[in-house]
Symmetry: D3
């Protein structure tokens, strides 16, 4: 099933987003969906998805992501227990960020986004094929007696696509200091206020950490964005315990946060040799300039709320010495 | 003296730039200059400059740079043999580049630019003080009998400033691949075509090199910018021999270039462990979207042209094997 | 009376629109209205409107449209059974579209928009004159003892205007292919996202159809806009039966649609000589990037819903032959 | 306490504003607030505020205003009966207006905005310190055992600031005619539609009135903005009676308004010598392109609604003489 | 004749301007001119011009200005000794400045620009009518046997226009301080760099001066614009002697300047009552972001150069007292 | 050989264009060219071109055009007498025009632009291969002993391309009136002034003419663009005689022009039935906002100047009858 965890805005205003969780083990048979409200960015975390679209088929496995845009019909086949995250945006499409001084190459390169090879079927479905539309947050169904994947020719570049997160060309500080997480942006859905994202998709991939004279984990901060984090595999460096693959955390705007006490102690004392960071791990963030509200499903129904999350910061001690120079 | 090496456009069109070389060992006494044509970005390479301006004094040493904008009166004191580079731009001011996904911190941070502490003198100069204006590329002089550095109060942020290149927070690839040199941009003077610089000031500071599966030096390229390189100290990695501190090289747009044969051989065989790059070195680039013409001084008078420069690429061999997989 | 049929957004957000239907046979006497929420684009379909405004009077007949902007007081006189459509937009004014390569002339030319000749009355109304304000979707009334149409002088260009749809300089494909309906845009109310309309007013006027090798009616499509169509007179080429003058149809975003089966058959077999299209007909479209919700009045109260509309497409047959070259 | 008087939009949409009234005579002790929703522009009207922030302390007295931005923790000390107005904006920060032909100086000059001198305390609070967050319009509290004003170093320019309204460099018509009130803009929070403000803060300070052949008070108008007016001290020229310091008036968009009958009579007959206007007075306006709704507190609970406000215009008489030349 | 005094850029680059002086006492008979290079802004200083254009006739007298745009044919009749100034711009048209917080009314109001009443003649000219084109700075002539003013109908708003400088709604500081001269902008020709004018036309009309605690004349400044001043009548407040109607002065960018010593003394001691400034005077400025070069005609041929201009500043004395508080 | 016919601006300023004519019957053998100055748009008129580039080979025949961008190496093989036109632009690339209300399809569709199939050769050239660079309008040569077409892999979309002019989806007036020629724009190179082209490439393809009550040929006009016309084949409707395939005409900005007398007579009397226009013909225009100067080659050396061109308009008679209604 598909559960909405948190969100802001709504489809009719063409300004907003929602974070959904999917958990399922049966495929869609003679049934397809199209989203009239916005675009889906799908992050499988367990099990692979064979997605049939009007543009062809995509096999999307964990550590890959895919985007299925507003209006495209698709049907999903799964193979056993499958789950993952979905970021839905209303009124904007995902695009590569403007790179600034990063120049013409780097981060997610356009050439690594894969689109399906064209495929169609000319198949009668006497028992009926159900086409479902998600419109203004509700589902509507129509019946027809043939497969909708009968598109034999098209042109343009409005296609679904997938991307393997290992292709990400990671850039970061190589002398000193800790860069903003925006340096890990894979895709962004821009708002109409320049420099402000409706939603960013950001990852924390395996990489070298080499900064000298620097606290290398994400530092403590209080900022103007909502941060929803998820974990595809491994251990997230800033909270190694309690944050599990398939889990999620939400840090709302303007409330300060940062690594847990454990991470702080370790990183404060570490010898700053070059070291591999996040080897075997893939954490990610859905970041938005809107402030998110959590649904009843997220707070209660799911029965998954970690009520002691805040305790990870309690052991943090003051290290301030006013006489130090 | 001040020698113009190359340039494009002209002051009257408010669109262009010039690269100058200065070599001198006497200070300006009871004499000051202001540039009515554009802004000076000064890169001392040997000897320090004590620059008196209407806003106060700045001591600028090698590995620092300073910017003195259009219209500001200044006088320079030197201490022995002094030389360096000047980038002059017409019709645009230098600013920090938009950072894109680098986010709110990184590269040259605003807080590291220093402006002079206010200073003035109320000094009569009976023998005459000479104020020189550079206007439309020519010099005009006026006499007065008092020091022009008599500004006792001002407000605003149109001030000269200096910056120490060691403060640059270096960002680069930390997984694989080689980023564009724009990732080293300190300051940019924008043209009116978005994304196209009238002139960029770019540096190659000491840093970690950690990219795996990568040819780490600047790769071979043919591009749409003019690249004037200079060296403040040390050895530039892509041409360790023949490119000396105080020297310069110009690679014009659309003609391919890259590391010399030596560098290519070494980098192709190197074991790709984390390593410090450019330790003890500071090379820089003035990069422009205009195509530069070299002056007669640069080609002949200076008697410094390296006519065998192109030979550094001759030993490069073809490594192509069509049967390789 | 005035009935709201469908809409999106709301006046307070200054972002939205509504489609209203008016049916009436009595004039407003000693009563006027002003809309504090947005602008009205009025499309009379039957009967003429004599509209008195503070700027003068306009007689608006079917095949003309008029725009009465936010805040203008107006009173309407009718002559028998009168009806039509109203498009209301919040937070944006209607303007002529940027013409792109169409150049300086074409489509609706500025010179064909007529504004009222100045007119006023200095009239006492002892029995009371009622001024009604539509504010945040509600109506508020105030009493005064004189006519509000007492404006004797003004300047500027914020005036109501009317436009005769016959003046539209129609541009279309003259070699082959079918152009987007945006090529018929009369007026547009822009959103703040470049290229995306809050609402467009588009017409399908009498014209020549000359494209060779082309399916000339609107082709089948599934798109990112909401399309509300109306008919002023005649027969709409893509649905000659069942779509009557005064009626309306709504095709929501992302659900595919196109000509009925009849139209498809005719157009597929037609000899493609130059022919007049839509002679004697005037259909139009209110097109929006917002997704519209239909009111209870539209779905039930009006008792006008055509529940078998979808059947017009059922006779469509597959013509696909995989072996055809 | 803090009472919301009127508003539009909401924090989650990052598009909106609210007008609050504060009346209190006790200080916040071991308690601070931060606003996760937007920025506060505070206009004290009676009593002074000693505001402690993470950036230092500010003493703000009537005729000064201060801005405390989203996310900043602050605590307020008062000295007796204290009251004033607050304008809160969501999704935009206040900035100085673009000056157009006013040029580089004028209106509120950047140099007159004061930021706190850095200050911190390293104070344990065994009984508990309460930190309150306003998030999506609700208040959330957290306990800690030390003062939050322990910031010993920071950089950047995201700081609270105050401004003395007497510093405003007033510009206005000096030959004839009455300029728009936007010429009195102190600060603006821009919407994403160019030229349209989410909210402007506008003042009517003491100044010369010299326009010849001109009705000098604000003329009668009907416009596209919501105007909330307040009075810090003195007598507002356009309504000398009944509008008291600490009071407020709201003129909604598109309903006409202007000076009361008294003011009209006086200004119509006045000899137009140069005269001082608003001497000893400071009225202001919160102006917005959104249409505001008044809260229940404003309409009922406060028991302060002036139900006969409209009567100030009733004595206005028609002066129109159609035969006059 | 027409003499070019100074300029920058050139017509072919569509970026530049020129300042011309005209002195003549004979009319153009059976001869007309059109400027293929750019637009003329004509400022008659003595004698009136009866200008016949394809759009009708305009009588332009001193204290009026007119603009004749690129490509319009016109012929000029004079009545005795006539002279004035012309500002020619290449690649941009004059427009009203964006008003910023001045709002919707003020400075030069659109309604005060007058366009000719349509007029034509159907006249044979057997002796030949000469049509002259100014193209790339040279004159080309063609013969025809009829009047070119045979345009019987046209539409659009690309028309010549005139403006009476007395209509200018002057806005300025009404509490204290001296505003930038841009506040007197009548018309501007924008460059492609936002906020930077190719050329502004600025006037200094009769007005009230009321600023308290202020040095009311233009203060001493050194700026990034070229300022060409002219005088239509009266006495310019900042240089009452030596600057005569019909004369001109050029202050190049970045060289400081200001009122003469006389003006300084008077204004420093003046009692700051409200006073009429520039009564009976009309001075103006052509201001440009380009740096102007003076022609040989201006420097020598005209025999009008005031070589002692700089002496007006020599009597200025230092008033600085470091001990003053 | 390659002859420059006319132009404006220059490569160093990155702002300008040139029109060249090529006439040749020998191929380039072991020789290639790259243009460091700008982009070539090549319009073959007689004979076909087999162009080898680093991206593959393109065969370009009359009625096709191709674009080879700045910096790309290419070599051309011809087959007998070959000639054509070249439009070179500096500082801008060609792109498809923004379509405005034409919508998402129409004019030149993206899908019809063809890029070469990748091709390379690994070929030694012992006798020497000459690589020529056009830099700042001069030619520079370098020798190497292998073919430069040795690129085995690349990515991105900076590739040469070709386009068949028959693919152009022609749009035009279908009720009445004559649209601007910009409606025929194939490709545009934008200047930095919005709406103003550095250069447009415009064609006049076979199409239907159906406008009623209209003078259908290009009307007489005087405009702000330079128009260089060429003819690939057939007869240009507005000048059937004297304008031959391979010829060219230049109408400079602001000098009026239009169809010849013959065309005027025919079109004025024609019965306005639907008719095919330009059947078998392909004329085109290079249109620029810069004013072009003709080279000495164009005026003299080529010996091709048609000195009686202006006579085609002499038989035009006045048809004006002031008494007509």
């Amino acid at each position: 099933g598909l559960h909405t965890l948190c969100g802001a805005g709504e489809p009719r205003a063409r300004n907003g987003l929602a974070v959904h969780i999917f958990i399922c083990n049966t495929s869609m048979v003679n049934r397809c969906l199209y989203n009239s409200d916005g675009d889906f960015l799908i992050v499988p975390q367990q099990g692979k998805l064979l997605i049939t679209t009007e543009f062809g088929k995509m096999l999307v496995e964990p550590n890959e992501i895919c985007v299925i845009q507003q209006g495209m019909r698709f049907s999903v086949e799964v193979f056993g227990e499958t789950r993952g995250y979905i970021l839905e945006v209303y009124g904007a499409h995902f695009e590569l960020p403007d790179l600034g001084p990063i120049g013409a190459n780097g981060l997610a390169n356009p050439r690594d986004f894969l689109v399906p090879v064209a495929w169609y079927e000319d198949r009668q479905v006497p028992g009926g094929y159900t086409v479902i539309s998600k419109y203004q947050g509700k589902l509507f169904a129509a019946q027809q007696d043939y497969s909708p994947f009968n598109v034999v020719a098209w042109h343009g570049n409005y296609t679904p696509y997938k991307y393997h997160l290992e292709k990400f060309m990671v850039i970061n500080a190589v002398a000193f200091d800790h860069a903003d997480p925006s340096i890990f942006t894979v895709l962004t859905a821009k708002s109409t206020r320049p420099g402000v994202a409706l939603a960013d998709f950001v990852i924390f991939p395996p990489r070298w950490g080499v900064a000298n004279n620097t606290f290398r984990p994400p530092y403590y901060h209080r900022n103007c964005m909502s941060e929803f984090m998820g974990l595809i595999k491994g251990y997230y460096e800033a909270k190694e315990e309690g944050f599990q693959p398939g889990g999620g955390s939400l840090h709302s705007m303007m409330t300060p946060h940062g690594p847990d006490a454990d991470c702080f102690e370790k990183a404060s004392k570490a010898k700053l040799d070059p070291e591999r960071v996040a080897e075997g791990t893939m954490a990610f963030m859905f970041e938005s300039s809107l402030s998110l509200a959590v649904t009843k499903w997220g707070l209660q129904t799911s029965n998954c709320l970690d009520k002691s999350y805040y305790k990870c910061w309690e052991p943090l001690k003051s290290h301030f010495n006013p006489k130090c120079k």
